[in-house]
Symmetry: none
Subunit: 413 residues, 2 copies
């Protein structure tokens, strides 16, 4: 089965947003072995959309549309497809009820054009929208599938995973199974990793090994095809084993995990609570920590100490430390981590102090970061980073390094 | 002039990377008044690339290719276009010298396939690559322009801005200038906004008015074309005035601004410092605040009080409040905001407490949020939200509402 993804929305063609939907869907389709040969983006224009549909019909069995299901006049994906396929639109009761509920819950009045969102292509399978109003749908005609999904990624992604993907798999009735596993690395660069395992990448076709780098991390995706899922998994296991023998020390997790999730897993396992003191990261560590549902029970709380005053008065960093060593120092980082944990009555403490940029601080160049680590009954530890990136990159990398260091610090006996 | 952007690379169709190039180029083209009607992404496959070129030739005067100019066998953009246009490839001396220099500088040996990168379509205008090896080029045939750009954004973007854009402008000999302005709204839904100004959207062609929604915000982009930039600006002013008369109270800023940036601007103007107490948002307010360079000087610091223990011990919320009213209450929010400000010696305090989800808390449904507002010498205020989204959406919207409420709270006399 070959697919084409058509994104509908003038905001894409004006460069106001980037087409992350095509990426998300492509990745999912790659996992089930559906080949994506084309992505198209077209504006909110019925004629051009119609021509895009006609072209896609010549080259794809599955056409996935994203966007244009909203309440406004610009939103014309459904209408254009209905006209093109000579079918009509019908009110879907479940979708209508769900839209009504949304308005009742938020206390806002429902307008006439909101009702339009509950219209579906007559005879299509409805994909419920649990994070917004417009339902998605799958329509079949002449052995070709038309899948319509909403544009906002926050609505589209969960809808795809929960409803579209299972429906698609069952329709495929695929005999060959595709299994894949992502190995996540930290502390090794992409070029170095690729050099270490170049012969494995070149020498294998099943499984394949594909490296990808981003945000200071590198991942390897191992993908195997086989009629028997267990055999596919075993092929992956063998390849992982070969990779681990060479660069296993840099592997920290699998698939969609993150350093933060691994840290939270470890804290849960060891029944430890944590507190944080954040200067240059301004709350990012705690924000990311608490973005994971259920993780909150591990976090006692923390202090964002952007000023020296707060470092001294609330976090009780010694005046002497601030005056003699400065706030960009290992001494300050250590006190911040230990004091945060003690103040909040937590088992573990982590601190971030340094220079995010764009300006220098206390004579230290941009990218100088100290990370303090504390655990009850253990010797405190500090790690220093010299990052060379932008303000945003320095903050994000500090958090990743912090998780990485803390993971091994807690595991040390 | 109408343009189509064709991205070449199987990594796009596998979802390994997102097509930011299309966004970047589209935004630049919008600024010079070139209409982009389609984006296409196609894999490293000569037949499918050829068919994409044929389709684009039917609907665009300017076809911009990104990617496929590298040294490997996969890279076949130039070769496919050359064959399709019946032209040959020729070694470009300047490009070759520049590649040689690159290898000398890095001390690596130059391989045979690197030389391939210096080949250009015979007769094309070369766009130098100052951040990599493959040069770009512009080729003209039958009044149609073919622009070839490298795939990596770090090479493509500076090449586009420095060489492609000026060349394009001079080729256009454009007399018409395009000006646009984005109005940013908060507190009004997309459907409601459109209902209020429907006649303006429908009745105008110059300027045009285009709405866009996302993350609880709505924007309107007003775009005007005219030979005289001043007249175009004036047309925009007039349209903005008409819109303001109807829904002006919901406009909070222009263009790329954000509620957080507007809040920081106001704090700077009034020389106020701020402190935050964050429960459900887990540090997100402060993280976003400090992500803006220079904003840090307005933030004294804050407390992330994820546990009742920290709310009571560090933030000094009265035990009685927690026991009688609960932590999801206006009383708790008010104490949090006021105490944070006083503890940190800040002029203004803001607090977030509530239920991010996925589970209920203290019998309150997911999405119940209290935002406390405090300013020295002013009566404290609390705002309640009933959000209906996911955990992530509830946190993001809480921050936006927090900024929105605080903006008007500070402005109240």
């Amino acid at each position: 089965m070959n697919a084409e993804i058509i994104a509908v929305g003038s905001e894409l063609l004006l460069g106001q947003i980037v087409n992350t939907n095509a990426q998300f869907i492509s990745r999912q389709l790659a996992d089930v072995g559906v080949n994506v040969y084309f992505h198209t983006a077209v504006g909110d224009n019925p004629n051009r959309l119609k021509s895009a549909i006609e072209i896609a019909e010549k080259r794809a069995d599955l056409i996935i549309f994203t966007g244009g299901l909203g309440p406004t006049k610009d939103d014309l994906t459904k209408e254009t497809i209905a006209r093109h396929l000579n079918t009509d639109l019908q009110m879907d009761d479940d979708a209508f009820t769900s839209i009504e509920k949304y308005f009742n819950r938020t206390g806002r009045p429902m307008t006439e054009n909101n009702k339009k969102q509950a219209l579906i292509l007559n005879g299509s399978e409805v994909l419920p929208n649990e994070h917004g109003m417009a339902p998605g749908m799958i329509y079949k005609k002449d052995e070709r599938l038309y899948m319509l999904l909403p544009g906002p990624p926050k609505e589209m992604e969960p809808m795809f995973l929960k409803f579209a993907y299972p429906s698609l798999r069952s329709k495929l009735g695929s005999s060959e199974v595709i299994a894949s596993r992502v190995l996540r690395f930290f502390g090794i660069g992409e070029a170095m990793l690729e050099t270490e395992i170049e012969d494995l990448i070149d020498g294998q076709s099943n499984p394949t090994i594909a490296p990808l780098a981003g945000d200071g991390e590198v991942t390897l995706r191992i993908t195997a095809k086989h009629a028997d899922l267990q055999v596919a998994q075993q092929l992956i296991d063998e390849t992982e084993e070969k990779i681990r023998k060479r660069v296993g020390e840099f592997i920290y997790g699998y698939d969609d995990s993150s350093l933060m999730e691994e840290l939270i897993k470890l804290l849960k396992e060891k029944e430890l609570t944590i507190a944080a003191a954040e200067s240059l990261t301004g709350g990012m560590f705690q924000q990311e920590f608490t973005s994971i549902p259920g993780a909150g029970s591990r976090l006692k709380g923390g202090i964002v100490c952007y000023t020296n005053e707060v470092k001294a008065n609330i976090l009780q960093v010694k005046e002497e430390t601030i005056q003699t060593c400065g706030v960009v120092s290992s001494e300050c980082a250590l006190e911040m981590a230990e004091n945060a944990a003690k103040l909040m009555n937590a088992d573990v403490g982590i601190s971030f102090t340094g220079v995010a940029g764009p300006d220098e601080l206390e004579g230290h160049p941009v990218g100088t970061v100290y990370i303090g680590l504390y655990q009850k009954g253990k010797k405190t530890k500090v790690e220093k980073l010299n990052l060379g990136g932008s303000r945003a990159a320095n903050r994000i990398r500090s958090i990743k390094y912090g998780c990485y260091f803390l993971l091994s610090y807690i595991q040390e006996s």
